[in-house]
């Protein structure tokens, strides 16, 4: 685009980095929180604060539940538009029953997919999802939101914009731009090694912002590249649905060949058949895993074509001890319990793919690595945020002279995405502790109210950011930053306090009992509070300093 290659790369880095940096900030932050999504769930749903449980007995506990679960109003609404005429009051034919748990889940997630009799497309299924306490079989109320795994995690990969999968596309584009920013960043800065050891906190704000930007960018470069890349690989089927469009015939052919090879029926037979003991099948699966030297627990159990002669049960191993998402699935005939198939060992390509995606999704058990992920993700946030700060610091004097509002608008957007996002997150957790146990009639569900609080708080923070960045137009520091830092500092103390008041789980008790999911969440917030307070103080000092003597301009020519 420009005569010089590096100039073009710098232009790309600046402008696409700016435009998508705002999205990337959200993706990195909620990705970091998602590393501990199950633990955040425990904080948000106090009834589930107990130790992780193994898969309970299918025959005695799960089967009776599966047989009675029906889709709730929200789940019915999801398919209402896909049928001719009204939906039946009850669904009878279950396509599949599934039960999923991990080594970090006290609760068990169950899902039933029912055939929809008058669906326009015969493949349509209506899903009924339930979360149960595996010790008693008691279901969690439908109005509870798993804030970690049910909200922060989807925010990370889809911004929760489900319509036409638009959210996935935005995040995918942002991830591609992350890769671009890393490559162009390396091209722009030739003295990579030196930047790893450069931090001048006492120079101008602009200089130290750039130092932090380079330092976090370079130090965590492999981490950031890997996560943006594997994130794209995980959702590549959404971005490039080649095998479901152009190559659909080839895909269909493969499925037919596969059904023949595996012996697992693709369709129902149409004749009813009783179900043999699934507990016996689980024992057999565990015996076979142990014989292969990889004894383990069940992570996922699926019954396909429920109640039909073609029905089969698939049992997958929980992948707690390896990076790959290898399930070592063993499939049984549902009516007899005989083994139909044992998944063959993965091929080389499958192992590479499972390693890449497994390292991103981290189902394995390794707490140190989990924390390194969080730090890597937060380093990404720091890198993006300082990039935004640098953009503003570099231009605000010039824009002030020219009377242009560009720097101010970017600063307001940066306030919204950096501190505003934290305010919204903490407000959601505060709302979670303050809302009544169940909302009065006529109100949205409790979980939905929590989401509204999140978005409402974010909107308010954004308006505040827009209003209190006015001084940027005069090349001064925006008070919005300090004020929102103070808000974060306060909220991050209020949330753990409310947790104490409403549940009795204060830190002395949770740490004493070694219940780290809740203790960790509280400590994380309290640490955040201290950091926010320090940031607010630093900002105040800088403002006072700058009022005395304006900071020198950075040498020209830097991109």
């Amino acid at each position: 685009m420009f005569p010089q290659f590096r100039h073009t790369m710098a232009w790309l880095h600046t402008w696409f980095g700016l435009a998508l940096g705002l999205v990337l900030m959200v993706v990195f932050f909620f990705g970091s929180l998602s590393v501990f999504d199950r633990e955040i769930d425990r904080w948000a749903i106090p009834d589930t604060r107990y130790e992780p449980q193994p898969m309970p007995s299918f025959d005695r506990m799960l089967k009776p539940i599966f047989e009675t679960v029906q889709p709730n109003a929200a789940e019915r609404a999801a398919v209402a538009g896909l049928v001719d005429g009204p939906l039946p009051a009850r669904f009878d034919t279950a396509r599949s029953w599934g039960a999923y748990t991990t080594h970090r889940d006290p609760v068990l997630t169950l899902f039933v997919g029912y055939q929809v009799p008058n669906a326009k497309d015969h493949e349509t299924a209506v899903w009924a999802n339930r979360t149960i306490d595996p010790r008693s079989g008691v279901a969690l109320p439908d109005d509870r939101l798993k804030i970690g795994s049910g909200f922060f995690y989807p925010l990370h990969y889809s911004l929760t914009i489900e319509w036409k999968q638009v959210g996935y596309w935005i995040v995918g584009f942002a991830a591609l731009m992350m890769l671009m920013a890393l490559v162009t960043g390396v091209i722009m800065h030739r003295k990579i090694l030196r930047e790893l050891f450069t931090f001048r906190p006492n120079k101008s704000a602009q200089r130290s912002m750039l130092d932090v930007h380079n330092l976090t960018g370079v130090a965590a470069l492999p981490f950031h590249f890997f996560f943006a890349f594997t994130g794209l690989v995980i959702f590549a089927y959404v971005y490039f649905p080649v095998t479901h469009t152009q190559l659909a015939p080839l895909h269909d052919k493969h499925e037919q060949v596969e059904a023949k090879q595996t012996g697992l029926p693709h369709e129902r037979a149409g004749s009813a058949a009783p179900m043999a003991s699934v507990d016996a099948m689980v024992l057999e699966a565990q015996r076979r895993w142990a014989a292969k030297g990889m004894a383990g627990d069940v992570g996922y159990l699926n019954v396909q074509h429920v109640g039909d002669a073609n029905g089969y049960v698939s049992i997958y191993r929980a992948g707690t001890d390896r990076v790959q998402l290898a399930g070592e699935g063993i499939h049984f005939k549902a009516s007899t319990g005989t083994v139909l198939r044992e998944d063959p060992p993965p091929t080389l390509v499958a192992r590479i793919n499972e390693f890449l995606t497994g390292l991103h999704l981290q189902h394995f058990r390794h707490w140190l690595l989990r924390w390194l992920y969080v730090l890597g993700g937060l380093a990404g946030c720091a890198c993006i945020a300082t990039g935004l700060f640098f953009f503003v610091e570099k231009r605000k004097r010039q824009h002030a002279k020219q009377g242009v509002s560009g720097a101010r608008i970017v600063d307001a957007l940066a306030v919204t995405t950096v501190t505003g996002m934290l305010v919204a997150t903490l407000c959601m957790l505060v709302a979670n502790r303050l809302l009544p146990d169940s909302m009065p009639a006529g109100w949205p569900w409790r979980g939905d109210m929590e989401k509204y609080c999140f978005w409402g708080a974010w909107l308010l923070a954004s308006v505040h950011g827009l209003w209190r960045t006015a001084p940027v137009a005069q090349a001064r520091l925006a008070p919005a930053w300090r004020e929102q830092c103070l808000a974060i500092a306060a909220l991050a103390v209020i949330a753990p306090l409310l947790n104490w008041i409403t549940t009795g789980d204060h830190l002395a008790r949770t740490i004493g009992a070694g219940y780290w999911p809740v203790a960790g969440a509280d400590l994380f917030m309290l640490t955040g509070s201290v950091l926010a307070l320090l940031a607010a103080r630093k900002l105040q000092r800088r403002d006072a300093l700058r009022a005395a003597a304006p900071a020198p301009m950075l040498e020209a020519g830097h991109a």
Binding site: M1, F2, P3, F5, H7, T8, M9, A10, W11, L12, T14, L176, L179, M180, V183, T184, F229, L232, V233, A236, Y237, F240, V242, T243, Q246, L247, P249, L250, H251, K253, H254, E258, T347, V349, A350, I352, N353, L356, A556, G557, A559
Partner: protein
């Protein structure tokens, strides 16, 4: 970014839009072609279907990154357009032909 007049003259709004569209959409078309051709070729060569698909995705994402950067870095807009869109179309057509043979 330096703001000398030489570079400013290059940077009309329509040029930026054209470059962005080319890098994004052209890159997409080219990547689609690579994934389609890669999947069909490797499946045709005896690899398991999902292996061929996943390997093509892994390669495809890196190709997209390269194509996006090339879309901006290249001096001649028209030549990149030809390579990305034309190449992508050719690869897709190749994948389609191969599929005819395989199904």
């Amino acid at each position: 970014m330096t703001s000398n007049t030489l570079t400013r003259s290059h940077l009309t709004r329509s040029h930026i839009v054209a470059r962005t569209a080319l890098a994004l959409l052209g890159g997409y078309v080219f990547t689609w072609g690579v994934i389609a051709a890669g999947t069909a070729l490797m499946y045709g060569a005896g690899m398991a279907f999902h292996d061929a698909e996943h390997l093509s995705y892994i390669i495809g994402i890196l190709v997209y990154l390269g194509a996006f950067l090339a879309g901006f870095a290249a001096h001649k807009l028209r030549r990149v357009a030809l390579v990305l869109v034309g190449g992508g179309a050719l690869l897709s057509a190749g994948a389609w032909l191969l599929q005819q043979q395989l199904v």
